[in-house]
């Protein structure tokens, strides 16, 4: 390691989840080996008890919840609002007192809690940082509907987490066939106009998911596709839908390929022909798109930009893209290439922690384990509500987005609330030694030591450039 490399604390901020009180002493000078071993072991924070093991349980449960709600509404003749928009207003069905939130919101809260607590466990946490990266890459918003609200956590657990150190193509297929994504981007109701269902019902294509697969999930907007490719992919994935409630072929709400909705015929997509072949047509198209050179470049740039700098070093992007292509999209190989890139150990910490990364890092630094309201509320207050970005491109990942006037103010509001509670148990001098280490600047040190109260010192520590940059 050359003398210019970033220190151990900065490396924990850049690649990991941020140090906890005893971590610096445990890691010593072995920070790079720590992250290497985390990748070797495919380590992720362990998940606590989850609300539903999988879609096979969640699908029918949410379905019967929604049916129950509907029948109560009819029974009570409460007219449904004609203008459903924005976050689903939790409408307590008439009846006995509602002490707990409706099932979709309850599920969302539990998923948020389990996910957050998992991120308190790893020593470094590179695996969980990669999980958060891919989760934002394949973003859905719980604002879409009560179903997506309930299934968003499952998308991450079922489609992203298992493939984090596997092949990109497999993660892609798992995501695009997951009910949360199919619902979020409307594919569950996209029907081939010449399919049996299309001819019968006079319905047709919805190109929402197909466009975002090409633009956001794989090739990137400059990846060389056109409107005809979007339409072809949309047709290829018609019939990728959810199992209906009356089905005898498995639980309701899980993924199902419905041949009656699938547009018959051959597809021409990015210069390749895909013969008629039911589900296989779309599956093969996704497999080819996943190994397209534009996908490698798109993924490489996003990864380097997330971990290193808004404008990442070109050599590093090229190296990541080459690793992606040479390994046929093996994400373990790509992640190792990221960790071993010299640029990632040289670049100064110019990035700003996103609100989610920040809340995790603050909880780790202060040794706190917040419950769901103290996770969901602050994230919303700081502009990054969990699994609820404003659009399918996910939350922004640039300094300008988060180091904004209101971004810093709202972050300070959250910090003030957190620090009030931590002040009784956290000694600022220990915080300096245990979380900041020797790299703390004289200005930050004297600001913290000159604070008028423990509360103030803790708040200033969390807002200091050393803590919010990475």
């Amino acid at each position: 390691m050359s003398a210019e490399t970033i220190g151990a604390v900065a490396a924990l901020h850049r690649f990991g989840l941020g140090p906890r009180p005893d971590d610096l002493a445990r890691i010593g000078s072995g920070v790079r080996d720590l992250f290497r071993s985390e990748l070797d072991d495919k380590r992720l924070g362990p998940l606590g008890p989850v609300p539903f093991a999988g879609m096979a349980e969640a699908g029918p449960a949410i379905r019967s919840f929604l049916e129950d709600q509907r029948s109560r509404r009819v029974a009570n003749a409460v007219p449904a609002s004609p203008e459903t928009m924005g976050p689903p207003v939790p409408q307590p069905p008439a009846g006995p007192a509602q002490s707990e939130p409706p099932l979709p919101q309850k599920t969302y809260r539990e998923e948020a809690r389990v996910r957050f607590h998992a991120m308190l466990e790893p020593l470094g946490g590179l695996g969980d940082r990669l999980l958060a990266f891919w989760s934002n890459h394949f973003a859905v918003s719980v604002n879409k509907s009560p179903q997506v609200r309930a299934f968003a956590g499952l998308l991450e657990r079922e489609a992203i987490r298992p493939h984090l150190f596997g092949r990109f193509a497999e993660m892609l297929l798992a995501v695009e066939t997951h009910p949360a994504m199919l619902l979020y981007l409307d594919n569950q109701q996209s029907i081939g106009p010449n399919s049996r269902a299309g001819a019968r019902r006079g319905r047709g294509l919805n190109e929402n998911l197909a466009r975002e697969i090409l633009e956001l999930h794989t090739l990137g907007v400059a990846g060389g596709y056109g409107q005809a490719d979007v339409t072809a992919l949309a047709a290829a994935i018609t019939g990728w839908t959810l199992n209906p409630p009356e089905s005898t072929e498995g639980p309701s709400g899980v993924f199902r390929f419905n041949p009656n909705m699938h547009e018959p015929g051959e597809r021409l997509l990015l210069g390749r022909r895909y013969p008629e072949g039911g589900f296989e047509q779309g599956r093969q198209a996704l497999a080819d798109i996943a190994r397209h050179p534009a996908t490698a470049r798109h993924v490489a740039r996003k990864l380097a930009s997330h971990f290193v700098a808004d404008e990442p070093p070109a050599a590093m992007v090229a190296r990541l893209a080459a690793a992606f292509q040479a390994s046929d999209g093996d994400l373990l190989v790509v992640s190792r290439t990221l960790l071993e890139s010299p640029e990632a150990w040289m670049a100064p910490p110019t990035k700003i922690r996103t609100p989610q990364e920040f809340l995790v890092a603050a909880a780790r630094a202060l040794g706190r384990k917040p419950e769901a309201p103290q996770i969901i509320g602050p994230l919303a207050a700081m502009g990054q509500p969990l699994w609820q970005p404003g659009a399918p491109n996910g939350f922004p990942d640039t300094v300008a987005a988060w180091a904004s006037p209101e971004g810093l103010k709202s972050r300070l509001d959250v910090v003030a609330a957190i620090s009030r509670q931590a002040a009784s148990t956290v000694d600022p001098r220990e915080l300096i030694a245990q979380i900041f280490g020797p790299g703390i600047s004289p200005e930050t040190r004297s600001t913290l030591l000159g604070a008028e109260s423990r509360y103030q010192a803790v708040a200033l520590a969390l807002m200091s450039p050393e803590f919010i940059r990475r």
Binding site: P82, E83, T84, M85, G86, L185, D186, Q189, I191, P193, G198, G204, L205, N206, E207, N208, R211, E215, V221, A222, Q227, V230, R368, P370, Q374, I375, P378, A381, G383, G390, A391, N393, A400, A401, A403, S404, P405, E406, G407, L408, K409, S410, L412, D413, V414, V415, A416, A417, Q421, E443, T447, E452, Q456, A459, L460, M463, S464, P465, I468, R469
Partner: protein, 417 residues
């Protein structure tokens, strides 16, 4: 980590150190403003300009349906608006109508305070939301140039010391819209969710950033400065209700922005964004999903009118979106990404009461790529016209600095009264 109401009280003792650092913060902020004692001549207009971005691509054919076009109804099975029935579209000029969820806009149109541009678009002809929004906000000819936005560059070309350039632009939201980002000062505000942190903590943090981190110092100072106006205007106790894709959220954002822009020492230029306009499925007609969003926008326009009060006569609110949606309804009773759409100009300074459109028609052969409303009016030409009339900026400056590469695109004249 429970957020609570336990924050610094107003009676907290003012320590000498706090005075010092507050002074330092003010000085830091002042540099970026280059304050000069120059005021507009008595009687001259002290204009206000607010840009509202509708993210997700507004369906202009539903917002302002061309019921006079014989092809309209056939293209819009399941979502077409009508002249009669329970919720008829509101008449504008006999050919164009307004969505029934927008009574305030109809009223302002009737009072000659709203103009509608139809078959309008930027120069962007692909169908990515994100590139489309980048082009709309950067004011650049194509995507990929996102260093700054055209409202920010506008401040840069105004004479130094003018009220407008001195007070900066207001960017609403935790992530401010690209259109206001850039070298000129940007103030930031959003309806807060939590109680604000105490003044002393703010001052000390400002001091630390001032010593260590110029980027954070600048952004934080611009956020803190707005709080003076927020407190004075009685907005301090307000909390966010609903997001920018809900009617409540839109109204609250508009009320806050109007108060800040209305303040004598506040910004003269603001930008904000409403979300949720990407109506691929179950878009609805006179009622339904899009109707709810349009009602929210209509409420926000009313909130601007109320909040700007005496300044309304000097105000232009411009409402724009990245592109339109397909002319024909798609397979899921919604619309996919398209091209031509509408833009609104609303305010007492608008020469309104008209729909400005070189209508291309909705026949199959008239559509752009056989699917979208063909754009015949460039949104940038309208923006240039408004900026030229409102702020007295010359065409060459607009074409070079604010909307680069648009020398061939003449500003639309006469939009401002």
């Amino acid at each position: 980590m429970q957020p609570n109401d336990d924050h610094d009280g107003p009676c907290e003792a003012m320590t000498p150190s706090r005075r010092t650092v507050l002074g330092a913060a003010g000085a830091l902020f002042a540099w970026s403003f280059v304050p000069k004692l120059a005021y507009a001549a008595p009687g001259a207009r002290d204009p206000r300009f607010v840009l509202v971005i509708l993210r997700g691509a507004l369906d202009g054919l539903s917002a302002v349906p061309p019921l006079g076009d014989p092809s309209y109804e056939g293209l819009r099975e399941g979502i077409a608006l009508r002249r009669d029935g329970d919720m008829p579209a509101l008449p504008l000029d006999g050919f164009f109508f307004l969505h029934p969820a927008m009574p305030n806009l109809a009223r302002l149109y009737g009072a000659n305070q709203a103009a509608i541009l139809h078959a309008a678009a930027t120069g962007y002809r692909q169908r990515s939301h994100f590139d489309g929004q980048d082009v709309l906000e950067s004011g650049q000819p194509g995507p990929g140039q996102t260093a700054d936005g055209w409202l920010n560059r506008l401040l840069g070309v105004l004479p130094a010391g003018e009220g407008i350039s001195r007070k900066g632009a207001l960017g609403i939201g935790i992530v401010p819209p690209l259109v206001v980002r850039g070298a000129a000062p940007v103030l930031g505000w959003a309806p807060p969710v939590l109680p604000r942190a105490g003044d002393d903590l703010v001052a000390r943090l400002m001091d630390l950033y001032g010593q260590r981190d110029p980027v954070l110092a600048r952004a934080f100072a611009q956020g803190v400065d707005v709080e003076r106006i927020v407190n004075r205007e009685g907005m301090a106790g307000q909390r966010a209700r609903g997001g920018p894709d809900s009617a409540d959220g839109m109204r609250l954002i508009a009320e806050g922005a109007a108060k800040l822009v209305n303040a004598d020492d506040g910004p003269r230029v603001a930008a904000l964004a409403f979300e949720g306009w990407d109506t691929h499925a179950n878009e609805g007609g006179a009622t339904g999903r899009l109707a709810g969003l349009l009602r929210g926008l209509d409420g926000a326009l009313a909130a601007f009118e109320t909040g700007l009060a005496a300044r309304w006569k000097d105000t232009v609110v411009m409402v724009v979106t990245e592109f339109g949606r397909t002319a024909r309804v798609n397979g899921t009773i919604g619309t996919d990404h398209g091209t031509g759409t509408v833009a609104f100009l609303v305010g007492g300074a608008v020469r309104g009461g008209r729909v400005i459109a070189d209508w291309p028609g909705l026949k199959p052969e008239s559509l752009h790529e056989q699917r979208d409303l063909r754009p015949t009016t460039d949104i940038r030409a309208a923006a240039k016209g408004v900026l030229s009339d409102l702020f007295g900026i010359s065409g060459p400056v607009l074409a070079e600095k604010v909307f680069p590469g648009t020398a061939g695109l003449m500003p639309i004249k006469g939009l401002v009264a």
